[in-house]
Subunit: 132 residues, 2 copies
């Protein structure tokens, strides 16, 4: 999986990195049990701070998406992903609320918003074949 | 409209304030042409820095949601809200994408995600009567 970070973006680097690993798992590009680069290697490959990679791995571990073994290294959780717990759904609602509020303010209907959501869902879950 | 800020939250204060004003407009609690408190007054009422309020008003002004008049003060844009421009839709997709990716990772179906979206949309656009 190729990580692409936008150093000019308003979105912090650690957030971008976290989002891309999450999307990689969601899209099936990263499979349960798959080995991820070590903190040192990922930091060096992507050209960012060790501390930034550490922060991302710590957050992903806390969510139960990856495991960090001293010997075996960092792996996508081989037991599969946690489900949409009530705690997760609460966090999700907090994140979605301002986006939906702004859509309403801009005059978007439920239908229009549902279509946007549907399109992005399909883009992630059913990715096109890699372009050659 | 009552502003409620959570000083313990991970979400920065200026983001919380911006979200609440946007949601106030979306919900129709703040009407086009309605006067908002001055920077100084809002900062004092809510107990935050002048600079924080200034930052929020500047962003809301850039989006076209409010106007800042030297004499008349700060008002919700009396000409109504801007529409969902292609620039806005791009920003919206960037914001939605990681939330949808994480929902997929957690095994949520399109239908489940659509229902969450629908529920939040209704909560904002069709607010319950104020509880007594």
């Amino acid at each position: 999986m190729i990580i692409h970070l936008d150093m000019q973006s308003e979105v912090p680097i650690y957030t971008q990195l976290e989002h891309q690993i999450v999307e990689g798992i969601a899209a099936g590009k990263l499979q349960p049990g798959e080995l991820l680069p070590s903190v040192r290697q990922l930091a060096s490959d992507v050209g960012i701070n060790l501390h930034t990679v550490n922060k991302v791995y710590t957050r992903l571990k806390q969510e139960g998406y990856i495991l960090v073994h001293r010997q075996r290294g960092v792996v996508v959780n081989p037991e599969g992903m946690p489900s949409a717990t009530s705690e997760f759904l609460e966090k999700q609602a907090v994140e979605l609320r301002p986006i939906i509020a702004e859509a309403i303010l801009r005059g978007m209907s439920r239908q229009e918003l549902a279509e946007v959501m549907e399109r992005i869902y399909a883009e992630i879950a059913l990715p096109k074949k890699e372009e050659s």
